[in-house]
């Protein structure tokens, strides 16, 4: 039971709104100490894991110079203008299209983008541009809601269609664990049983993006 002290530290730290980096570090130190590690051992573990996981930060660091440069020269404005020429476009439809594209390519293990490379420069400005063309100037809360849903469309497309046709990540992890304890299951059947959820998630996206569109329409009706 005492090993769960780290979870407690995280919960209390988040609740008190302390700096998240410090809270996470403190949780690690507390957990390590109750598990009988010395302070230097814990620091060495943090250092090792931190170095091993540098790749997580890499896409953002390498992508931002390109995004910053193009944004300075008007890329967001250009993207918004492009989408405004399409009459059928709404925020929700833009997001559903991106969700479907992201999910469709991730079934074969391809990764067409992430938050830094697609959502900030392309998807969010498109969704905002579409709403602007339909409903006129947007309130800050509406812009925030569109952007939050744009980030959600990336996550939903990324997570739930993984590996259905070509297994690369999670399916192999499941298979690997089963192999190690002698449980029989084929890669194919694990992958295919993910398919119903992938289809359902697209439906959930369609529902939430439509709710977003309706809210935007209702908000613009009120102000006029």
């Amino acid at each position: 039971m005492i090993k769960l002290v780290g979870i407690l530290v995280v919960a209390v730290g988040f609740a008190c709104r302390l700096n998240t980096l410090l809270v996470v570090l403190a949780a690690g130190i507390a957990t390590g100490l109750v598990a009988g590690m010395s302070f230097n051992e814990i620091m060495a573990l943090f250092g090792q894991f931190f170095v091993d996981n540098r790749f997580m930060t890499l896409p953002v660091v390498l992508m931002l110079p390109v995004v910053g440069l193009l944004e300075r020269h008007g890329m967001k404005e250009r993207v918004a203008k492009l989408i405004q020429s399409s009459r059928a476009a709404t925020s929700g439809r833009v997001l559903l299209l991106y969700h479907a594209l992201r999910g469709g390519t991730s079934t074969v293990g391809l990764n067409i983008g992430n938050h830094a490379s697609m959502v900030r420069p392309i998807v969010a400005p498109m969704a905002e541009g579409a709403a602007l063309a339909k409903h006129g100037p947007l309130a800050p809360a509406e812009v925030a809601s569109i952007r939050a849903h744009a980030a959600a469309s990336e996550n939903l497309g990324n997570f739930f269609a993984d590996d259905i046709i070509v297994a690369v990540g999670p399916v192999l992890l499941i298979k690997g664990l089963y192999d190690s304890v002698g449980v029989a299951a084929s890669v194919w059947s694990i992958a295919l049983w993910g398919a119903p959820t992938a289809v359902f998630v697209l439906g959930v996206g369609w529902w939430r993006y439509r709710v977003l569109d309706r809210r935007l329409a209702a908000a613009s009706g009120k102000t006029r």
């Binding site: 769960l4 780290g6 302390l18 700096n19 998240t20 980096l21 410090l22 996470v24 570090l25 949780a27 957990t31 573990l45 943090f46 250092g47 090792q48 894991f49 931190f50 170095v51 996981n53 540098r54 930060t57 890499l58 953002v60 660091v61 390498l62 931002l64 110079p65 390109v66 995004v67 910053g68 944004e71 300075r72 020269h73 008007g74 890329m75 404005e77 250009r78 492009l82 390519t105 983008g113 959502v119 925030a144 952007r147 939050a148 980030a151 959600a152 990336e154 996550n155 939903l156 999670p170 992890l173 499941i174 304890v181 449980v183 049983w193 959820t197 998630v201 959930v204 996206g205 529902w207």
Partner: protein, 320 residues
């Protein structure tokens, strides 16, 4: 031998962060000049030399970074953005050429992911297969940067400055994903998962097939929320709850259980600030005031998807 290693791109990223640290250090208008420049210099050090430094040294560097962030000495600069009218005017002028680099990047990543790992000449490989996607992304970003500089006719310093401004806006949250992954590693080393699985298994009436399914899926979602990562939760919950109860006790199908269990874990990922790279960093990247805005947008979806997973698992796992 491998020609293009992931380490190569990590070093490039580190050198870029180092240049940023210098930029901060000479910026007299910066509100937290000293703290911010030390923070970015330490991060640069970890990126460039992390592999060769003793882990305990990196650990203390990380500790220093967390303390600097904790006492609010890491802040964004006071540099102005370019006025919107100027940007709109230039957007008119450059037109769709502005979009080439960002369209080229995903195309190059996909192509690179397929092609790069197949290139080899005897013992000399172009890339390590397990790093192919990341190396492709690194290459694509460099090509995209070159294209961007060509299209906009800007000096490379402009890209450095603008990228730096965005990175500083993200601030210490940039390294939060790495920090959380480290915490996950320490949890795993200390055996936190076994304790959680033990509590779940012993406190619930898992002799009922439905309870076993709900306990496993809820455990996956909750433990993923704690760890910030479904891959870390999966072995713990599957060995602790899934296999003993659903498969061994009730004769469930392990393929169905594993697939839907992992997907239940992803529902937890949508709900937790611990999955910082999916939920918090995007909120900052998109300049949302509410750091939890992405999680709030995802919450209804996560709930619906989780219920669907549980229903599908209960309907199928004991039948096929």
């Amino acid at each position: 031998m491998t020609l293009l290693t992931l380490e190569f791109f990590l070093v490039i990223a580190g050198l870029y962060v180092a240049a940023m640290a210098v930029q901060v250090a000479v910026d007299r208008t910066h509100p937290k000049r000293l703290g911010s420049s030390v923070f970015w210099a330490l991060l640069a050090l970890v990126f460039v030399a992390g592999k060769h430094l003793p882990p305990v040294v990196v650990g203390y560097a990380v500790l220093a970074m967390a303390v600097l962030a904790g006492v609010r000495q890491v802040a964004a600069p006071r540099r102005e953005e370019r006025p919107a009218e100027e940007r709109a005017a230039e957007a008119e002028q450059l037109g769709n050429r502005l979009l080439w680099p960002v369209v080229a990047i995903p195309v190059l990543v996909v192509l690179g992911g397929i092609v790069l790992e197949r290139v080899r000449l005897g013992d000399v490989r172009l890339v390590e297969p397990r790093h192919a996607t990341q190396v492709a992304l690194g290459l694509a970003c460099l090509v995209g940067l070159g294209l961007g500089l060509r299209v906009t006719q800007a000096r490379p310093g402009v890209a450095l400055g603008e990228g730096g401004r965005l990175l500083e806006a993200i601030g210490w949250a940039l390294v939060l994903p790495q920090m959380l992954a480290s915490l996950g590693g320490i949890f795993a080393r200390a055996g936190v998962g076994e304790v959680v699985a033990g509590i779940a298994g012993s406190s619930l009436p898992t002799h009922l097939p439905l309870v076993a399914v709900v306990a496993y899926c809820a455990g996956m979602a909750l433990f993923t929320m704690v760890m910030g990562n479904a891959f870390a939760a999966f072995p713990v919950m599957t060995l602790g709850v899934g296999l003993p109860f659903i498969v061994n006790q009730h004769g469930g199908n392990p393929a169905i259980m594993g697939a839907l269990g992992m997907l239940s874990g992803y529902c937890g990922t949508l709900l937790t600030p611990m999955a910082a790279n999916f939920n918090l960093v995007p909120a900052i990247l998109l300049e949302l005031e509410d750091r939890n805005a992405v999680i709030k947008a995802q919450a209804p979806m996560a709930a619906a998807i989780w219920v669907f997973n549980v229903a599908l698992m209960y309907a199928c796992v004991y039948r096929f």
